[in-house]
Symmetry: D2
Subunit: 155 residues, 4 copies
């Protein structure tokens, strides 16, 4: 499914399948659109990850996670990213640039996903021995954007 | 408590006391900071509403609510604001400008509050016969910013 | 050209034709893409104003300008919007929500247009007897977004 | 002047003194506030770089520049950052998180500085043999925020 999209390949390498992201989208939107199918959620996720802006955010955030895992970031950034410092907000900023692509209505879903951490997002957040400081926010951002896209289309 | 601050006076006229906003702040932050007092939450809210950026967002958003209530907005904006159209995102955009004042860490709390709508926020959202399209988002934005301010101070 | 798009009709009523916006787009992009035609710039502007997010920003901002012109906003918002207070940033915030639709690369063009005020934008800003506090920023936002769209397509 | 502030130390290591940033602030604000002194501009810059949000943006952006210089970023991010790809917007997004700290009025100044590239900003942008993809935007963001802070204080 990833084809030539380097951001999708990178997400898959880090344990994030687009099907799992689509599942989160379905969960948050099924209450509003009862007939919503997994296929429709996946199509929406695929459209989101096609956007260059989204790919650049993913490539940058996951690179920072991987470099922190290898202890290759300069200090004190290394320590800040490795421990996912509560006050470090660059991960949320990158995710917001994803959410913005489908307008501000994705914002609320992003905040909700980022705090309630359903399914995959919670697993990423708590993975032992891995640095996923950016990845959980990026996944929340993509899911929120895909949910917003469905809302726009259904109207 | 409102003194010369026109935004605080306007919030109070629309049924929002700063004490009620402080209560929301305490609710979302008490899990992280067990000794947090209502007075500390109120002080944080007071600091947020002192910011010019925050006051301008409140004055603008509440004016749009009031004008919609009086059916004084031009069409089709009148209908969009009056029914709180799901896809109208200007209310979230204004609230985000409040949250931004204390950095991106307020963003997650804003999204969470805006979706889960605890206490006062839920009551505003569902008020019959009133237009609170902007007000519930503005209150969520102020509470989220005050919560972020506490997080910054406690570190 | 405006058809059923209420935002385009409102822009035209306020003296802004899409052709004039397209001219600004051509001016800022011609140095980068020598073969760029006025028709291509206009097509890009048309795509931008089709977006719901953009239409909602225009409908809201222009309504605030018109209400200020009629002295129908509550005080002190009336005075703040009427005199285009330097520190009132809600007009820029609305314009930013337009620019965001095509990613962050529109941001730089928006800031540049908003400060250098070429062509139509400068005329709007200085119109005697009219309130165009929001309109000049909205036009800069649409032109910046259309320029960003061209940059994305040409790559 | 840098003291314990790791972001300021990093800026200085990359050739950016706070005095040079203050000079840019004075240039863009002197037309509006004739009596503005270099000392006042420097004080404003110092306040901006004290903010945690600003420090985190600087630490992250400059680390990405340095890693690209050492060819240590994973591909294709390495190539994108090294050539300062026109459509890569993460640098502007990080700078915007700096500018946001003093509200949206910094936004216009940021865009203007980022496009016109006066003084130090232009030199950074064109440095041969160095990667300053993030640095020039970060400096423009700090200068724009400091200019906005002066505007808020002078009102």
């Amino acid at each position: 499914m990833s084809g030539q999209n380097p951001a999708v390949r990178l997400l898959e390498e880090r344990g994030v399948s687009l099907d799992a992201v689509a599942e989160i989208v379905c969960q948050i939107q099924q209450g509003y659109y009862p007939g919503l199918t997994p296929e429709e959620c996946l199509q929406s996720v695929l459209k989101v990850v096609e956007k260059r802006e989204v790919q650049y955010a993913v490539l940058t955030g996951v690179a920072l996670d991987m470099l922190a895992e290898q202890e290759s970031l300069p200090s004190p950034l290394q320590e800040i990213v490795a421990r996912d410092d509560f006050l470090y907000g660059v991960d949320e900023i990158l995710a917001l640039s994803i959410t913005n692509v489908y307008g501000s209505i994705g914002l609320t879903n992003f905040g909700y996903l980022d705090k309630s951490k359903p399914g995959l997002i919670g697993q990423l957040d708590s993975s032992e021995g891995r640095v996923n400081t950016f990845l959980d926010d990026l996944v929340a951002g993509i899911a929120a954007a895909a949910a917003a896209k469905i809302a726009h289309q259904r109207q």
